[in-house]
Amino acid sequence: MAEPVAAPLDERTGRLAENIIYFARALRAAGIPLGPGSVLDAIAAVLAAGIGTKDDFYWTLHAVFVKRHEQSILFDQAFRIFFRRRGYLEQLMSLTMPQIETPRQDNAAKPASQRVQDALFAGMNEKLQREIEQVEIDMRETVSDQEVLQKKDFAQMSAAEVAAAKAAIQRLVLPLDEVKTRRLAPNRRGRIVDMRRTLRASMKGGGAFIDLKYLGPKSRMPPIVALLDISGSMADYTRLFLHFLHAVTDARKRVHSFLFGTRLTNVTRALTQKDPDEALAACTASVLDWSGGTRIATSLAEFNKRWARRVLTQGAIVLLITDGLERDPDDKLAFEIDRLHRSCRRLIWLNPLLRYEGFEAKAKGIQAILPHVDEFRPIHNLDSLEALCRSLSAGGERFGRAA
């Protein structure tokens, strides 16, 4: 008696699983990284929740598939498109309810899932295309003509130039810039007795004498946050600096990079790709305001509001790379740079204009920024990059003790 009942049940679960797998695959294509473990979890979750309504089904899958707040939007769109077909979800839901015998619908589910999957991919591309167009239209209407929507081609860099710069940047060793943390590690010259190791060491001699072991504070590299100006006036330098940021990201764990012209773009994930060319290509792809105007204050305001509290923890150093030539300087710039300065451990301003001897801070933007930075350095060639590396290490120690 039990066997004939069990067989169709398994088949139902199988169909449901198949659909969840398709959906997970679609999410993966949409950019949410999901392993097979998540799919198994999702199936278990749907079976556990015993889906009643579309909302419950939605939130059940959401609970398993979404691991970051930003992914919520992607999930929502994918869910809507995937289960767009009227009645399809209801059909799917009926699969989890063993009491309703609907073999006809079961048969229909398989081709339907294939169709929806196709529709999903087509639909997503379409939507993406529309969104890109939308952004372009918006920007033409709202942002001044100074903002050039062209994408700077990295191929413009001559091959010899690329090779030379890359090699030079790779040779740059960022010295160990470390700050003390509150974590302890074994240290022969430490001052705190490590009771655990002491006891273990003492046991070796049968406990007859106590062999004291010490702990000292552990140090680590603080996070670096780079804010790189990619406006037209900086165009000659941005490629080089991006290579530099990529090299730094590669060498250290916690580096967050942001590009700004008239808007702020987070390129941290793009720069984590191992290959510099791929990483830079990914950066270019994600930036829309390449070589346009500069809105330092607006970009900093966005950074302060949306990102500062998420990336400026644990004694972060901020590298602000800009020429400080703000298009419309006003009090806002001073206010935002002050707030940025107060929320990080150290603010270093790297300015390529410093290469000119007798440079004077005449521009209003520069005057606004200057009082609020801890350090003001030139950055226009490899020498200055090397000098920056040295400064990072020296300053790290000094500030580390103070912190």
């Binding site: 929740a49 419950d56 691991k67 006891l199 206010f335």
Partner: protein, 305 residues
């Protein structure tokens, strides 16, 4: 006293409301799944939206013990998982010597036994409890450094702790684990993968009104409406830090203590400190902006009637 785990999403919603927690269905769903599948629940959201409260309500309504681990930078195994009682170990070694016990392995085995173990929150949570598996709250995980997350992986995946000197301690029945984060940094994907994720957002006007009426008993009906509408309007403003539910409740309590029956610009400006915690934000809203918002709130409420 001990309650069993809810059997459906509706039952979970009931459970929350019995604990005076006004939750939405999305939260109830993820909570139900966490309980049913025995998975840790990772709650992320702005400060003051009631993340920690969820764990408290769970422990209270299910009649389970609440074990809280408040995270901070430098939190290590000795403070979070276990530590050996060194003083007692020393004495035990000396006693063994005095007795003329020279079997080193024997002494070492005796000294590193459960008797000399001081259990910290994570290990306590794995112990059997007569009231049922406890609720383990790992609060503000983003405050620790990445190194600590690694300690948690074993606990969260298998509900066990490995003590090198002793072996593995595994929970007979897994605890209910709630992890909260204010997102001052990103938590590693390896840890998130082991949990069910939920973003706790600001409540909508209707839910916030329910929360205010429940948590500030005896509050004037009209005042509570105005407060909620005002806060909702404030969240749409360009502020550095929008007020959370905790701030709404503080403000509602303050105004109700002051015997205010309706919002007026002067009172709002005087009590803004309960809602906004940054001077720039207060300066923005104080004065004319406050009265503008009040008028807007009044108009909205009139339109709704």
């Amino acid at each position: 006293m001990t309650q069993t785990v809810p059997a459906s999403i509706d039952a979970t919603l009931d459970l929350l409301s019995r604990g005076d927690y006004v939750g939405d269905r999305a939260l109830a769903t993820v909570l139900f799944l966490a309980l049913k599948m025995g998975r840790p629940l990772f709650l992320e959201g702005e400060a003051g939206v009631g993340k920690t409260e969820i764990a408290k309500v769970l422990s209270q309504t299910l009649g389970r013990r609440l074990i809280r681990l408040q995270c901070y930078e430098g939190l290590d195994v000795a403070a979070a998982v276990y530590e050996w009682n060194y003083a007692a170990q020393m004495i035990a070694i000396r006693l063994a010597e005095a007795e003329g016990n020279v079997d080193r392995d024997r002494v070492e085995h005796d000294v590193f036994s459960e008797q000399f173990l001081i259990k910290r929150p994570l290990l306590q949570a794995l112990e059997p409890d007569p009231a049922g598996p406890p609720v383990l709250l790992i609060d503000e995980l983003d405050r620790t450094d990445e190194a600590f997350e690694a300690f948690l992986l074993e606990v969260l995946a298998d509900f066990q702790v490995t003590i090198p000197e002793m072996g593995t301690v595994k929970a007979a029945r897994p605890p209910i684990v709630i992890i909260t984060s204010n997102r001052t940094r990103e938590i590693h994907d390896a840890l998130k993968r082991r949990c069910l994720y939920h973003w706790v957002g600001y409540p909508n006007a209707e839910r916030e009104l329910k929360i205010v009426r429940q948590k500030v008993p005896g509050i004037n009906e009209r005042l509570s409406r105005e407060i909620v509408q005002f806060v909702q309007a404030l969240r749409k403003e360009d502020l550095f830090k929008s007020p959370g539910v905790a701030e709404t409740l503080d403000w509602a309590t303050a105004l109700s203590e002051l015997d205010v029956v309706a919002l007026d610009p002067a009172t709002v400006s005087d009590t803004l400190g309960a809602l906004l915690k940054y001077q720039d934000d207060i300066a923005r809203i104080e004065g004319s902006k406050a009265s503008e918002l009040i008028n807007q709130v009044r108009a909205e409420l009139r339109a709704a009637e």
